[in-house]
């Protein structure tokens, strides 16, 4: 008991030191919004002035994510891919287990819920597709758009049960196909730059048509990258949910 209390006191002391250090660091931070803030450096100016010329899109955040830093975004897509592999490996829901009689989470979907879901899901899907496709000319992009699509699909699964949505079979592997297909689309789009004589994922500089400013078909391959990210995120979320939610063999539910 003595040792435990010593350990507890050490933890408290370490936390107090950490809190003191963080408080001092917070006080030393430059005031947000001031004109000579260190964030207002040549990088920000370069992006603000260069993005309309380099990418032909008005959404600067999206242009950085899908053009200048497209290789980082590819890394994020790979992280999603690896997370699926990890969850699938740990939970190991093979075909055999999924074939076991399952009681969907949602067998008890009542009238209000199913009516509301019927009403909401189409709009959410359309809005998710809009956010994904228009990501480079309005706020949004592949990540929120994909999450919206996934939310609609998961809501459908929760309400109507697995296989309750027409065209989505009980133990379908469509999310896996979409998952891999989106990553392949990303890589294919990225290699356009290589064929054009530039670096991997280089966009307008290798002659991809820039399109008309402010329309969907602008910014070179940025819309394609946005669609790839959206599909990827949606497929990852749906697959994660389905893997987590699949009943396992010993389940008594």
């Amino acid at each position: 008991m003595k040792a435990l209390s010593w350990r507890r006191m050490a933890v408290v002391a370490a936390l107090m030191v950490l809190g003191a250090v963080l408080s001092v660091a917070l006080l030393l931070m430059p005031e947000p919004g001031v004109i000579d803030h260190p964030a207002h450096n040549e990088t920000a100016r370069r992006y603000l002035s260069g993005i309309p010329r380099d990418t032909n899109t008005p959404n600067i955040v999206n242009a950085i994510v899908t053009d200048y830093r497209a290789i980082d975004t590819l890394g994020e897509a790979t992280v999603l891919f690896v997370s699926i592999i990890a969850v699938g490996t740990v939970l190991h829901t093979g075909r055999r287990r999924l074939a076991a009689p399952q009681r969907p989470v949602s067998a008890h979907a009542d009238r209000v819920l199913s009516l509301a879901a019927r009403l909401v899901i189409p709009f959410v899907i359309v809005y998710g597709a809009y956010v994904t496709v228009y990501g480079h000319i309005s706020p949004g992009g592949g990540f929120p758009g994909g999450a919206l699509l996934a939310a609609a699909l998961i809501l459908g699964t929760l309400t109507f049960g697995r296989g309750g949505i027409p065209g989505r079979a009980g133990e379908g592997h469509s999310s896996e196909w979409f998952e891999s297909g989106a990553l392949l689309l990303y890589l294919t789009v990225g290699s356009i730059g290589v064929w054009g004589g530039g670096a991997f994922l280089s966009n307008l500089s290798t002659g991809v048509p820039a399109g008309v400013w402010g329309t969907v078909l602008s910014g070179g391959f940025i819309p394609l990258i946005g669609i790839a990210i959206g599909v990827k995120v949606a497929a990852t979320m749906v697959k994660l949910f389905e893997t987590m939610d699949a009943p396992d063999e010993g389940s008594t539910e």
Binding site: N59, V61, N62, L91, V105, V131, P139, G140, G141, F143, P144, A147, L148, A150, A151, I154, L158, M237, L240, F241, M244, D245
Partner: protein
Amino acid sequence: MIPIVSAGLVVFLVVCAAAIAFVRSAIAAIVLFAAYSAVMSVLWLLLNAPDVAMTEAAIGVGVNTVLFVAVVRRVGGTL
């Protein structure tokens, strides 16, 4: 007006974060976390970051909540 709203929302965030640490029930913590994300996304909007606000609302409120509930069900925790 906007600074008062922002201050109120920030206070709510702090209270929410503390409550997440202290509540006993898993479902209460998950709902509080969703509320935290929703308020945070409003704050992102007030900070002129609509992209981040949309992502926070879609992923923080929607997908995170669903995944947390699925995990708690999966590990046999009490909701």
